[in-house]
């Protein structure tokens, strides 16, 4: 690895680390997961905490990013089955980088994947997190 590449990696890690450091969940918010990219940290929890097959649930997300997204979309899919949910979540901004997505429902047991799309002018950043539901 060249010195330039190492310097680039160090810079990227520094940015991510800075974002991570400034993305602490508030008191009472027990994250179920944390996703980090170069410029963004997203922590989330589900409400209720335990996802049950066939029961609606919500997702609370906190986004920490150098460039705040103009909108957040939340979806989920079962990659192994090549399908998503039969329901569309609606996301409501709560301010200060916090969002609530309502109306999710996993209709099968197995490995699901949360999909968070952060909309910014001219681009969409996709963050994903796997979740196993029994």
């Amino acid at each position: 690895m060249s010195l330039r590449a190492i310097a680039g990696l160090a810079a990227a890690l520094s940015v991510a680390s800075a974002a991570a450091n400034t993305c602490a969940a508030p008191a009472g918010f027990a994250p179920a997961g944390r996703i980090e990219s170069r410029d963004t940290v997203l922590v989330y929890r589900t409400v209720p905490p335990r996802i049950e097959v066939g029961k609606h649930f919500a997702v609370d997300a906190i986004v920490c990013a150098k460039a705040a997204p103009s909108a957040l979309r939340v979806d989920a899919q079962m990659p192994a089955h090549r399908h998503g949910m039969n329901y569309r979540a609606r996301v409501a901004p709560q301010g200060d980088g916090r969002y609530r997505a309502d109306g999710l429902l996993f209709h099968m047991p197995g490995k699901w994947q949360f999909v968070f799309d952060l909309e910014r002018p001219g681009s969409t950043e996709r963050l994903t997190a796997d979740v196993l539901v029994e």
């Binding site: 097959v53 609606h56 192994a80 399908h83 039969n86 329901y87 209709h107």
Partner: protein
């Protein structure tokens, strides 16, 4: 979680030690336990203010067996939902005043559902109960006709007032919807009881070797296929053996030249345009929580040709099978999945579906397992309607 792991570790040797039982590993045991306990508690429907009300249940039971609301006075709910046939009719496709395209589903345990009808066009049991009363090929009735029967029969009017705290008024649509809510309150009480599988499942939970050994070996082998190789449990999930959602499984949905049954795709359209859906003024759920599914349901390209996953409880009593009654026997159903024609499954269908390629013995075993989901009292006649104080019995 730790306690559960310890319990499962302790159970595994019990299951393998008995000579009369099939070996189940800890993962299989955990999956089997997910199909219980049974019966499940029935929660009152918040969108139906008379759910669980004795007067409404009595009125609903009488209406269920009453043909007077139909156009010519010959068709009742019980014409197709025959108690002695596990609340189905034994026909491939239903027939009321005229022929219909779909198979009659049982109403056993219907109160546990989330969507109603093969296409889920109704989001409540009471909204679903209105449809056959008005459908021209089912009962062919009208709001005015149903309301006239309720208002004109002194016993019905009395039960109505007991349930709804007011006599049936002049608004025909309101009385029709209330009659449907009474029907739903009655149907919620039509529950299936325990089955040989439930005895096995509970014996597994408590580590009862003697009780485990009473479950037929073929059914045990079939159960192992059900939760394992067959992956049947993914859709036929939980204590009710259904995930309550919709799938396309390679059953043709053409009805004849130029006619198709679009299933869930059309069902969502009908749901959204239905003034009786849970977003409308007839829902009694002031919180709006019951309508969550209706607010968020989404129609996709894959919805076309999807039909609701039926419960497998009492499935041995409800032949013929599939949304159009195309398959005559349980063996035909198992063979359908064993020899699945992938050319008939949507190109964007679920990759979960694949031919299971079951041997003859595996087929027999799976059928034996499905037969073990039978409540021996599922076809018993219902008792007489309850008496309600102040109303003639």
């Amino acid at each position: 979680m730790r306690r559960a792991a310890i319990l499962l570790a302790a159970l595994a040797p019990l299951v393998t030690a008995a000579a009369e039982t099939v070996e189940l590993d800890p993962v299989e045991i955990r999956l089997v336990l997910r199909h219980g306990p049974w019966p499940q508690p029935l929660l009152r429907d918040p969108s139906n203010r008379v759910s669980g009300d004795a007067g409404a249940i009595a009125l609903g039971q009488r209406l269920f067996f009453d043909a007077r609301p139909s156009a010519n006075g010959t068709v009742a709910c019980a014409t197709c939902h025959v108690p002695a046939r596990a609340w189905t009719d034994g026909r491939a496709q239903a027939a009321g005043l005229g022929p219909l395209d779909r198979n009659t589903p049982t109403v056993l345990d219907a109160g546990l559902g989330r969507w109603f009808g093969w296409d889920g066009a109704a989001d409540s049991l009471w909204a679903f109960a209105v449809k056959p009363m008005l459908h021209p090929a089912e009962m062919g009735g009208s709001a005015h006709g149903v309301a006239a029967v309720v208002r004109g029969d002194p016993r019905y009017a009395c039960l109505y007032e007991a349930a709804f705290r007011a006599p049936p008024g002049a608004d025909d649509e309101r009385v029709l919807v209330d009659a449907a809510k009474a029907l739903a309150a009655y149907v919620e009480t039509i529950r299936s009881g325990r089955t040989p599988f439930d005895e096995f499942r509970d014996a597994l939970a408590r580590g009862d070797r003697a009780a485990l050994a009473r479950y037929p070996l073929a059914a045990q082998r079939g159960l192992k296929t059900f939760v394992g190789k067959g992956a049947c449990r993914v859709c036929h999930f939980g204590p009710g053996f259904t995930n309550g959602e919709f799938h396309e499984i390679g059953i043709p949905f053409t009805l004849g030249p130029g006619r198709v049954d679009a299933g869930r795709h059309e069902g969502i359209k009908r749901l959204r345009s239905d003034p009786l859906n849970l977003l409308g003024r007839f829902s009694d759920d002031a919180s709006g929580a019951a309508a969550t599914q209706t607010r968020h349901v989404e129609s996709t390209h894959a919805s076309f040709g999807q039909f609701k996953t039926p419960s497998l409880r009492n499935v041995a009593l409800t032949a013929p099978y599939m949304h159009n009654g195309r398959l005559a026997t349980l063996r035909d159903v198992v063979r359908h999945y064993s020899e699945l024609d992938m050319d008939r499954v949507h190109a964007d269908g679920e990759s979960l579906l694949r031919p299971l390629k079951l041997s003859e013995r595996e087929t027999d075993d799976l059928v034996a397992f499905l037969e073990s989901l039978t409540d021996p009292r599922a076809s018993d006649p219902p008792g007489p309607p309850a008496t309600v104080a102040g109303c003639a019995s």
